[in-house]
């Protein structure tokens, strides 16, 4: 029986080689998924992931795990819908339990402009086969009886867009599941390896400088979340991204009372209850750009008061944890991904406050781009040069912060 108590090592410790077909900077969901699909779908296994901390230590392990496809523009809906479908079978594909849980997502309206907005969202979603309907106040109450329909006596709830498939999934498990399977297929994963420079020879990226020495690469993918401009500044070009902190917090565990995920655009807040009973609350990004992951008290105070306006029972709960992640925000709230002006250097970025749900679709598409050299139509709208061509993909209203 002794064997039962041995320590289980999930990830092999790989030694850093001198050269790989593909080097991926960043062991978040996007880097890990891209590596997995490179190996599984395209047989490209001489791949290294360089992660300066531990895998999932960035936004991937700090997000509020909302999965949904209720976006606004046709290009974005198509993309997130694909990702949503891939997430539905991901636990089976990777043989790793991810505690995916379908909750139904309410997007509340407390004002006339938001009623219009949410009605329009429902109609637009239906046009593209996404299950979103508009509910009046009575129906909102039926779907989520815990809501204070008077909005704390200040902001009465007038209606909502209801996206029944809206779900949550365990974020760490997504990172671990992709990492373990990618490694099993031959990808090497290096934690504690930081990229400190890029080697560029006549406009072509030939490798990366790291704290473990130079590593040559056929192609380099930057998938570093909020740190992306540190990489592009090394490469000597600028991109339309600014890094903002995003905070969230949980209460102590409470009996299961809240099935739904509830968001309010007017109150800039969203609330859900995790499977272990903690009530999870998220809200808007910090208004100033920063790389600091220190949480702030004004955020906690103002969010708590708005959350109590929706769910009075929260007033008696204590707050257990508060944390901060960094978001690579684009001007149009859509991702920024694909080839760059440096040959063989690619980006998976612009994931902002919305990129966790995008991991499978982005990973499979970036793998296809790296393997074939052709931009898959699914991600073509999110190319880096879209602002120069006046082809922004405006998603501010539906990006929310989850």
């Amino acid at each position: 029986m002794l064997k039962l108590f041995r320590r289980h090592q999930y990830l092999r410790q790989d030694t850093l080689g001198h050269s790989y077909d593909v080097v991926i900077i960043g062991g978040g969901g996007h880097g890990l998924a891209t590596a997995y699909y490179l190996a599984r779908n395209f047989g490209i296994r001489n791949v290294a992931i360089l992660e300066r901390s531990y895998i999932g230590s960035g936004g991937t392990g700090r997000n509020t795990t909302v999965l949904r496809a209720n976006y606004k523009t046709p290009d974005t809906i198509r993309f997130y819908q694909r990702s949503f479908e891939m997430y539905a079978t991901l636990a089976q594909d990777l043989d790793y339990n991810m505690l995916r849980s379908e909750r139904g997502l309410l997007w509340l309206a407390h004002s006339d402009p938001q009623i219009r907005n949410q009605r329009e969202r429902a109609l637009q979603n239906q046009q593209f086969g996404v299950d979103t309907v508009y509910l009046d106040a009575r129906q909102v109450h039926d779907v989520c009886p815990e809501l204070d329909m008077s909005g704390g006596g200040k902001r009465p709830i007038l209606g909502a867009a209801y996206h029944a498939p809206g779900a949550t999934i365990r974020h760490d498990a997504v990172a671990w599941g992709y990492a373990i399977e990618a490694q099993r297929l031959g990808v090497s994963i290096h934690q504690g390896v930081e990229v400190t420079g890029l080697r560029i020879d006549r406009g072509r990226c030939v490798g990366v400088e790291t704290n473990g020495g130079f590593v040559a690469a056929g192609q380099v993918l930057s998938a570093v979340g909020g740190y992306v401009t540190q990489i592009t500044n090394m490469a000597g070009f600028r991109i339309p991204i600014v890094t903002h902190p995003l905070q969230a917090f949980v209460t102590e565990s409470y009996k299961p009372v809240l099935d739904r995920i509830v968001a309010s655009a007017d109150l800039h807040i969203y609330v859900s209850q995790s499977s272990r009973g903690e009530v999870l609350i998220g809200a808007e990004i910090d208004p100033y750009s920063s790389y600091s992951t220190r949480s702030t008290f004004p955020f906690l105070a103002s969010c708590s008061s708005r959350a109590i306006d929706l769910f009075p029972f929260l007033a008696k709960l204590r707050i257990l944890r508060q944390w901060t992640g960094l978001c690579d925000m684009t001007p149009d709230y859509s991702p920024l991904m694909g080839v760059t002006e440096v040959d063989r250097l690619l980006l998976s970025s612009g994931w902002g406050t919305w990129g966790f749900k995008a991991i499978p679709a982005s990973g499979i598409s970036m793998a296809e781009l790296i393997a074939t050299g052709k931009v898959p139509p699914l991600i073509a709208p999110f190319a880096l040069d879209r602002f120069r061509r006046d082809l922004a993909v405006p998603e501010r209203a539906s990006a929310g912060t989850h």
Binding site: Y227, T229, Q230, N233, R238, I239, P240, I241, V242, T243, P287, Y288, S289, S290, Y291, S292, R294, T296, F297, P298, S302, P331, F387, R388
Partner: protein, 81 residues
């Protein structure tokens, strides 16, 4: 802790009372009709991890603009004018 912004007129106040400009455009705000320069000014950012010169507007106080330098890694502020 809240980020405290040292307004030259009102003293240190919490960040919620202010609007930040963010990164200042390279070459200032002047528009000269050069499409390429306009593209760079309007869209592209350095998003530096380090010292950044910024303008802040104290909307819930003296309602005036001022300049400061902020370290985006630590949020430490100096050179306020």
């Amino acid at each position: 802790m809240a980020l405290m912004i040292p307004c030259p007129n009102c003293g240190p106040r919490p960040y919620g009372e202010f609007w930040p400009s963010g990164e200042l455009p390279e070459g200032g705000h002047a528009v000269d009709g050069d499409v390429d320069a306009d593209y760079r000014r309007v869209w592209l950012r350095t998003n530096i991890a380090g010292e950044q010169r910024e303008r802040w507007y104290h909307h819930a106080g003296c309602r005036r603009w001022f300049s400061l330098t902020r370290n985006t890694l630590t949020n430490a502020i100096h050179d306020v004018v």
